[in-house]
């Protein structure tokens, strides 16, 4: 398969970026999107040109490192997957593929397609954890948790913090991310003692970092590689009101 790639190139955070067009040939349809970019980079290195910088790590859809806004969609033209799981068979031979970085004030570009998602770490630092004194392993049945709640908590805990929700949202809102991180604890007894402080501080940090406001468009849910549901945002709202009114 042959492709024309239009890739955003930007030397650094303050540099002016632009699209550069590359031609790439003889790509296997079984090749992953990132492997295709690897091949492009090998060609660029052979020509003593700067390779395209892009984030990646596990390449099996669980680490949340890969990003890329491909032809108008975060993680490309498929559902429930990250860019590393996107395969070239999803495109047609001869397609032009436009590749952009996540664009949000809170996710500044570091280089080319790499953005800083430190903003998410800062939100987590505000309370996206449970403070516990570690010790011996507790008995598995010591705290009874309903199957419904444990399933919902585990669904929310699937969020890998890739930032596709922010990238897809027309307002660059981080509500889906924050709602998943609040929900995974709000649903479990272990998360209750710090619930009030957690939701207040995480929302305050989200606002402070310059993310937009959620207008319930649903684009985040549609693009989330872990299929985090909008019901989590409603839960975040409920948790927030309960915390503020208590």
């Amino acid at each position: 398969m042959d492709f024309t790639l239009k890739i955003w190139r930007q030397d650094g955070p303050e540099a002016k970026g632009k699209f550069v067009t590359y031609q790439i040939k003889n790509i296997s349809h079984d090749c992953s999107f990132l492997e295709m970019l690897d091949q492009l980079n090998e060609q660029l290195v052979d020509k003593i040109e700067k390779p395209v910088c892009f984030d990646h790590d596990c390449r099996e859809g669980i680490c949340g490192m890969c990003s890329l806004y491909i032809n108008g969609r975060p993680h490309g033209n498929d559902s429930g997957i990250t860019t590393c799981q996107l395969h070239m068979r999803k495109f047609k031979d001869g397609d032009t593929i436009v590749i952009e970085p996540w664009r949000a004030k809170a996710f500044p570009i570091i280089k080319d397609l790499v953005v800083s998602r430190t903003a998410f770490d800062k939100i987590i630092q505000e309370g996206g954890y449970v403070s516990i004194n570690t010790g011996g392993v507790p008995d598995g049945n010591a705290i009874a948790i309903s199957k419904v709640d444990s399933d919902l908590a585990m669904d929310a805990a699937q969020c890998i913090g890739c930032g596709a929700c922010v990238a897809a949202c027309k307002n660059a809102s981080a509500m889906l991310f924050v709602s998943a991180k609040v929900s995974q604890f709000a649903l479990l007894p272990q998360g209750k003692p710090e619930a009030k402080e957690r939701v207040e501080k995480m929302v305050a940090k989200m606002d402070e970092l310059g993310f937009g406001n959620c207008t319930n468009t649903g684009a985040c849910e549609a693009e989330c590689p872990k299929e985090i549901k909008l019901t989590n945002i409603a839960r975040l709202n409920r948790e927030f009101y309960a915390a503020k009114l208590s």
């Binding site: 004030k105 606002d207 319930n216 468009t217 009101y241």
Partner: protein, 224 residues
Amino acid sequence: MSNIFCSSIGKKLLMSLAGIFLCVFLLVHLGINLMLLRNDGGEVFKLCVEFMTTNILIKIVEPVLFLAFLIHMIWAAILQVQNWMARPSKYAVTNHSQSSFFSKYMIHTGIIIFAFLVLHFVNFYFVKLGLTSPAQGVNPVEGEHDFYNMAINLFTQPVYSVIYIAFFIFLGFHFNHAFQSAFQTFGLNHKKYTPAIKFIGLAYSILVPAGFAIIPIYFMFFWK
């Protein structure tokens, strides 16, 4: 902890509460307007108008209504500006993510609604306040505001009626997303009840604008 209404969620809550209040108000407004269709020379309509302009309860609610309009518009503007600022550099390729169609154009439909509201105020409310004068021959009794003849005068003008109907189509687009979105903002999202809320929102966004639009259609084509 900081005040609830300083946060993004709090601002949206305030805006949603104001929005739902306006939805309820519009139902009352529609109920009264539909009285124009009665073939009684405006007798019942005038009684309703008299009740709305003199009743003490309505007089108390009136400032709340204006406050709701102001809150809804000002907070919408604040949130929208913040949203634009949250993405200073735009994508080269338009977003193709699957999302609710009308949700993308809330600020646009909102501005159209605001423009019509200004026109509506000039035509009716400002006349009541004495800031603008009604059309010629519409106010035969000194000191009384003949809203019945003012309405008929406007609805028999094709240009005004077309603008009026077009406005309600945009209002329907606005409601289509706004109603169910408000409940999501309230934190009310439930497997069983959310589909019902969405259905009510859809029904409201079609039936209420249709109810208002019937009136100029009646006066343009069927009124003698």
